[in-house]
């Protein structure tokens, strides 16, 4: 059957109009209907929310960890009184200098916030100016030991009670290693420019990450400080025979 030419043209026109109408909508020329407005557009959990500035400095009571692990030691001798510093290495163990606890009738230990800590036993090292004090009461905080001795130029922080006064944090850097001018320690010791005073003996010397790198034991004539290095501390702590009970006065 043949379609007349005019009929074909008319049908093509109608189809064209329909196709044009459809394509106007389908191809996006006509705007689509809007999506319904959602009831709530607030995300359930904020993404990438970082803690407020200074949040990492918070501690249980506002004191830094380095302050919380330092202790003040009062050595009540038979005839005189002296003070020194020390620091915790675990919940019931303190490290200080041998000369801080020597000739003692009674040792009185107090923390950064004035709490008194009951002392159990005291032992001193034979080949280093170090002493270990075991406490009956738990200590509030204790630091990590560093992995190795520091190098010259490394920063050092000393936390202790210079002159038996307030808890003080001083900064400096390692100058060099040297022979012990006092002959109180076997091997080499560390020389730093961190300020110390009498009474700072036994203070912890810490690296930039707050890890122990040595123990303050003396001050030089040119106001530098001498440290028993971490390696010596670890050696004597690892040696069961290195410490003997301290003799009282």
């Amino acid at each position: 059957m043949r379609w007349p030419a005019r009929s074909l043209a008319r049908r093509a026109l109608v189809a064209g109009v329909l196709v044009l109408t459809g394509s106007l909508g389908g191809c996006g020329v006509l705007p689509p209907l809007p999506e319904p407005v959602p009831a709530d557009i607030v995300p359930s959990a904020p993404a990438d929310l970082s803690p407020a500035a200074g949040g990492d400095a918070l501690s249980p009571d506002g004191f830094d960890a380095v302050e919380r692990m330092a202790v003040r030691i009062r050595n009540v001798g038979c005839e005189e009184l002296s003070t020194g510093s020390g620091f915790a290495i675990d919940e019931h163990t303190l490290i200080t200098n041998k000369h801080v606890v020597s000739d003692s009738k009674d040792l009185e230990v107090s923390t950064y916030d004035g709490h008194d800590i009951t002392v159990g036993t005291t032992a001193t090292a034979g080949l280093a100016d170090l002493a270990v004090v075991r406490t009956t009461d738990p200590l509030p905080s204790f630091p990590e030991l560093a992995k190795a001795d520091p190098e010259p130029g490394d920063p050092v922080t000393v936390v202790g009670y210079p002159a038996g006064g307030e808890l003080t944090v001083t900064q400096g850097e390692v100058i060099s290693t040297t022979r012990d001018p006092l002959n109180a320690n076997l091997g080499e010791v560390l020389l730093t420019d961190a300020p110390v005073e009498p009474g700072s003996s036994g203070s912890a010397a810490l690296d930039a990450k707050g890890r122990v790198i040595g123990v303050v034991y003396a001050k030089t004539a040119d106001d530098n400080s001498l440290l028993v290095p971490l390696s010596t501390l670890q050696d004597v702590l690892a040696d069961d025979t290195a410490f003997t009970p301290a003799k009282g006065c």
């Binding site: 506002g62 009540v76 923390t111 038996g164 808890l167």
Partner: protein, 182 residues
């Protein structure tokens, strides 16, 4: 047999031109009305949606303003709390130091008291020994005044006893002097 003549059947009558044109126009008109209706509906819907979004935006803007005020307040309180914490920790450090100094003074006072007690005891011992020495010497002087009434050996023994007392007093005095030396 004669064949019938073949005559072509007449086709449908062709529509007149104006009628065809109006039909096309009608179709175009319907399509235009449909598109117009769709556009009107779209516009109304978008207006409605836009109004809802605007209302929501105003709501969230008010909420943001309120939260900003709360955040400012919270930040102020946090700063105040930090200042108070800093003051409190400084005060705790001061108090711990004061307690330590008082403890030192207490221990030093006890040691001084013990020293004073020892010195006093030594002084008392010296005083007592000197008193016995003096008393013995007075007694010896009295005996020597009437020496003929006593046996010489008794006098000599008594003299040795008095000398021993005085030597003890001297030792006690030396110990006291040593105790007093700085």
């Amino acid at each position: 047999m004669t064949e019938a003549p073949v005559v072509a059947a007449p086709g449908p009558a062709r529509e007149p031109g104006p009628r065809r044109g109006s039909r096309v126009l009608a179709i175009v008109l319907v399509a235009t009305i449909a598109v117009g209706a769709y556009l009107w509906l779209t516009t109304v819907r978008w207006q409605s949606t836009s109004a809802e979004w605007e209302e929501k935006a105003h709501g969230y803007a008010e909420e943001v303003a309120s939260l900003r005020m709360q955040l400012d307040g919270a930040n102020s309180e946090l700063q105040a709390a930090r200042d108070q914490l800093s003051t409190a920790t400084a005060r705790i450090t001061d108090l711990a130091n004061e307690k330590a100094q008082l403890g030192d003074e207490n221990v030093a006072s006890e040691q001084y008291l013990n020293y004073q007690t020892q010195v006093s005891a030594a002084a008392a011992t010296v005083a007592s020994a000197l008193g016995q020495c003096v008393s013995g010497q007075e007694q010896l002087v009295g005996y020597l005044k009437d020496a003929d009434q006593y046996e010489p050996s008794d006098l000599s023994r008594y003299e040795r006893e008095v000398n021993a007392l005085c030597a003890d007093a001297e030792d006690a005095n030396e110990a006291l002097q040593k105790e007093l030396r700085p």
